[in-house]
Symmetry: C2
Subunit: 214 residues, 2 copies
DNA sequence: GTCTATAGGCTGATAGAC
DNA sequence: GTCTATCAGCCTATAGAC
């Protein structure tokens, strides 16, 4: 039973929301505590520092997401039915389910991770929380695409993750380019295209020109 | 003859380098002026504010890059030889040429843009500098992929740009996942995979399953 | 666990000498 | 154009009352 403490949870929620919206450096502890409706000093009581607060925000949800993804992977891993589409879906399905179930919080969490994953400054934090899961997926991809160099598989998969994170970042670029008609936050419309894009991109980057190739 | 003033240019170079490395908010004007080997007060003399300095950094190179991309697009636009691969190459070729010609500065510039393009906070700045060029590319893509809804083309293309920007961000994720063997900065190795990924992703996201389809 | 007060330092921006 | 000095405000983090 994590986070039985209501104040601590409110601080984590507020930090997640504000870090996602404006970025780690642009948000002050004061703003976070105001959003959490608490006193400034309580940040140090629950978390040692602003950076430790960020780490707690990321860690809070990563294990749950990784558990769901591992469960998805376990169904296909090592079987003859495994495919590029299904490996992509191990990344996408659990996340989009959580967005439908619990809504805005997971959107903020994803948006924050998209920012952190882009900068070498936080690569240690991202590594700790996601590299185990990602390595399992790359292993499975390597299994079903024999004969392709590990380095090429790794590069292609990191590009695929980058495409996913670019969507989760909801930058406003779609809105801008469409004069307001296409919304970056409309995950229901974007998700199928993202899945197709990641699968098609991986297949071609790995030199599997036939759509029906595993 | 832009930037005949040496000090102004040094400030722009320093800001570009530091903003790219650490992010806009994490860099102080003092650090930039120290890196530029000048005095603090000169920032206000040449640029009105820190934000205006950022805008100047982006604008300095965007017109040159857009000119090169427009020249590439002009060769194929409206012709029967136009293809998804070539449209992707309009994005990639000019940039990677500039990296080979002038090296680190364009890498920093790209890394900075990758950060700015991810946040709604800077969507106005990105729009001003890149939306005209991007719209031309989407128009050409729409021409060679008839029957696909504009909104779907736009979404797919923004995802493709996201994949490109994720590479240009050089997050360190490849290095981390490979225990140091695959380097995010090794553009020579990544570029062909990125091109294949973007083309294959676009083709599948747009529902063109046949590789030889235009 | 909660709240107030404050330390010590850095921030963006400006005024004015040269 | 360059440089120094400085303002007013905000920052993270902590100490200590309750």
């Amino acid at each position: 039973m994590p986070d039985t403490n209501a104040t601590r949870t409110r601080i984590l929620d507020a930090a997640e929301r504000l870090f996602a919206r404006s970025g780690y450096d642009a948000v002050s502890i004061r703003e976070i505590m105001r959003e959490a409706d608490t006193q400034l000093g309580l940040m140090s009581y629950y978390f040692a520092s602003k950076e430790a607060l960020l780490e707690a925000v990321v860690a809070r949800r990563s294990s749950h997401l990784n558990d769901r993804r591992c469960a998805c992977l376990a169904i296909i891993a090592g079987t003859a039915e495994s495919s590029i589409e299904q490996i992509v879906d191990v990344l996408l399905a659990p996340f989009f389910e959580l967005v439908s179930e619990e809504g805005e919080a997971w959107k903020s969490y994803a948006k924050l991770n998209a920012q952190l994953a882009q900068s070498p400054r936080w690569s240690g934090l991202i590594k700790e929380n996601f590299d185990d899961m990602t390595t399992l997926l790359i292993d499975e991809l390597e299994r079903i695409v024999p004969g392709v160099a590990r380095a090429d598989i790794l590069r292609a998969f990191v590009i695929a993750i980058g495409a996913m994170l670019a969507v989760l970042a909801t930058s406003g670029r779609m809105r801008s380019l469409s004069n307001g008609y296409v919304l970056d936050e409309d995950f229901d419309a974007i998700r199928p295209q993202l899945g197709e894009f990641m699968s098609g991109g991986l297949r071609q980057a790995l030199g599997l020109s036939d759509r029906n190739a595993r």
